[in-house]
Amino acid sequence: MAYSEKVIDHYENPRNVGGFDKNDPSVATGMVGAPACGDVMKLQLKIDADGIIEDAKFKTYGCGSAIASSSLVTEWVKGKSIDEATAISNMDIAEELALPPVKIHCSILAEDAIKAAVEDYKSRQTK
């Protein structure tokens, strides 16, 4: 199966790899895994007082499509409000990266990572 050029670009030059201090109150962490392929993804968002995502980092253990999907969403979420970020759907990701049907679950993983991070953020706000 051939990867699209965009997947290869993100795979070879992944954006925003790494992490933030998870004890920093402005940092939200989303952890998700896909049983279908055993891929694991961690997405961290740095969110300012107005609920705007200032920065994002990821660490993904998985195939090229999973890495590209997470790299792409770290670029997309920057500057967005948490509501805008939650609105990103896996179909947007799959379309941008031209993922084949068997790799759709990688884009679902990235979408769910954003949602998990936002949930983490919200649960910290209510505390």
Binding site: M31, V32, G33, A34, P35, G38, V40, Y61, I108, D112
Partner: protein, 175 residues
């Protein structure tokens, strides 16, 4: 006819692994396309399909993970085509840590021994999970199948990790 019936064994997670290969060879011989070389096209086609089914059944039955997954599919729970993600943070943290450890194994003083320590730790975890899985698959409890499905989902991460450790082992000992 399901795979268990094909291999003439009870539909159960417990399988006698000393008998399975013999049954496999026997079924292999019976359905081998060469046997039908002088037969009609129809007979050849049927043999070919049967033979493929025997191979598929054997590969599913011999591994506990695929066997458990198949058993649940017979009970109406299809895990093979599901695309949902899991969000159990503690479990995923552990997976992340193990994967980081593997990625950095070359920096260890003795990578091969560090690798086998990691492998043992994961194998132990697999063993515990398989014991729990067996219990749920045999249980009559209402949510037993769902609990078994959750363990299978987790085991997939562990099996993937073990495969990657093997690959790493090969590359480390290959010089």
């Amino acid at each position: 006819m399901n795979y268990f019936e094909l291999f003439k064994i009870p539909v159960s997670f417990d399988v006698d692994l000393s008998v399975l290969p013999q049954t496999y060879q026997q079924l292999q011989r019976l359905t081998h396309p060469d046997k039908f070389a002088s037969g009609s096209e129809q007979q050849k086609l049927v043999a070919l399909q049967k033979n493929a089914q025997v191979n598929e059944a054997y590969s599913v039955l011999k591994s506990p993970l695929s066997r458990a997954e198949y058993l649940l599919s017979l009970r109406g729970i299809d895990l093979q085509h599901e695309q949902q993600t899991i969000k159990d943070t503690a479990f995923l943290m552990q997976q992340m840590e193990w994967r980081e450890e593997l990625a950095e194994i070359d920096e260890q003083a003795d990578p091969l021994s560090a690798l086998s320590t990691l492998e043992l730790e994961i194998q132990q975890s697999v063993k515990n999970d398989l014991a729990r899985l067996r219990e749920y698959l045999e249980s009559e409890q209402l949510d037993a199948n769902e609990k078994a499905a959750d363990i299978i989902r987790q085991l997939k991460f562990l099996y993937k990790m073990l495969t990657e450790i093997e690959l790493k082992e090969d590359s480390l000992s290959d010089f």
